[in-house]
C-alpha cells in the first residue's frame, strides 16, 4: 500500500473512530448522572485521541519526506505480532467463555475484542523491541 493511500485510509478510520466515540459520549452525557460507563467512554476517547494524533502526524511527516510507511521489517513485525496475538486471543476467549455466566453476551464480545486489540498492540511492541536474529 502506498504511503499516501495509507495516510488517507488511516485518517478516515481515525475520524470515524473518534466521531463514533464522541457521538456515544454525547448520548451518554445527555443523561443526568455520571455513570461508570460514561467515565470509561470519556477515558477511551481521550486515550484514542492521544494515541492517534501523534501517529497521524508522524505518518504525514513520513509521506512528505518520501519515507515508506511499511517496509520489510515493519511487515515482518506485524506478521509475528499477529501470530502471537492469535494464540493469546485463543486463551483470552477460552478464559472469557469460562466466565460467560457472569457476563452478558454483549459485554463478553466487547471485552474479547478489546483484549484482541490490546494483545496485538502489546505483541507488536514486544516484537519491535526484541528484533529478529
Amino acid at each position: 500500500m502506498k504511503s499516501k493511500t495509507a495516510l488517507m485510509l488511516f485518517s478516515i478510520l481515525s475520524v470515524s473512530l473518534v466521531g463514533g466515540l464522541l457521538f456515544q459520549l454525547y448520548s451518554l452525557l445527555s443523561s443526568d448522572n455520571m455513570t461508570s460507563a460514561q467515565l470509561l467512554l470519556t477515558a477511551a476517547t481521550v486515550v484514542v485521541m492521544v494515541i492517534l494524533i501523534p501517529v497521524l502526524l508522524n505518518l504525514r511527516k513520513d509521506v512528505k519526506a518520501g519515507i515508506p510507511h511499511d517496509d520489510e521489517l515493519s511487515k515482518k513485525v506485524k506478521m509475528f505480532a499477529a501470530g502471537y496475538a492469535y494464540f493469546s486471543s485463543l486463551i483470552i476467549w477460552l478464559v472469557l467463555f469460562a466466565f460467560h455466566s457472569y457476563l452478558q453476551k454483549d459485554d463478553l464480545l466487547m471485552v474479547g475484542l478489546a483484549f484482541m486489540i490490546l494483545s496485538f498492540g502489546i505483541n507488536w511492541l514486544f516484537v519491535r523491541r526484541k528484533g529478529f536474529q
Partner: protein
C-alpha cells in the same frame, strides 16, 4: 552476524536517514540492521551493499559456526 554497515556508511559520509531513503526502508530498519538485531532479505542486503559500494559478504559477515549450524 556482524555487520560493517556503520563503518562503511561513515566512510561514504552517509547518515542513517540517507541510506534508508536510498534503499527505500524506514530509518528504524537501518538502526536494527546496524545493531545486528535483524537479518535482512537477500534483496535488501544487495541494495545496501550496492549503496555502500561493497559486496554483500563484506557488509554482512557470518561466523563460520553460524553457517554450519
Amino acid at each position: 552476524m556482524i555487520t560493517r554497515m556503520k563503518e562503511l556508511r561513515a566512510i561514504r559520509k552517509l547518515t542513517q536517514a540517507d541510506l534508508a531513503k536510498r534503499v527505500n526502508v524506514r530509518r528504524e530498519t537501518i538502526v536494527f540492521l546496524e545493531k545486528g538485531e535483524y537479518n535482512p532479505s537477500l534483496k535488501l542486503a544487495a541494495k545496501i551493499a550496492k549503496q555502500l559500494e561493497s559486496r554483500i559478504e563484506d557488509v554482512f559477515i557470518f561466523d563460520e559456526e553460524e553457517l554450519i549450524e
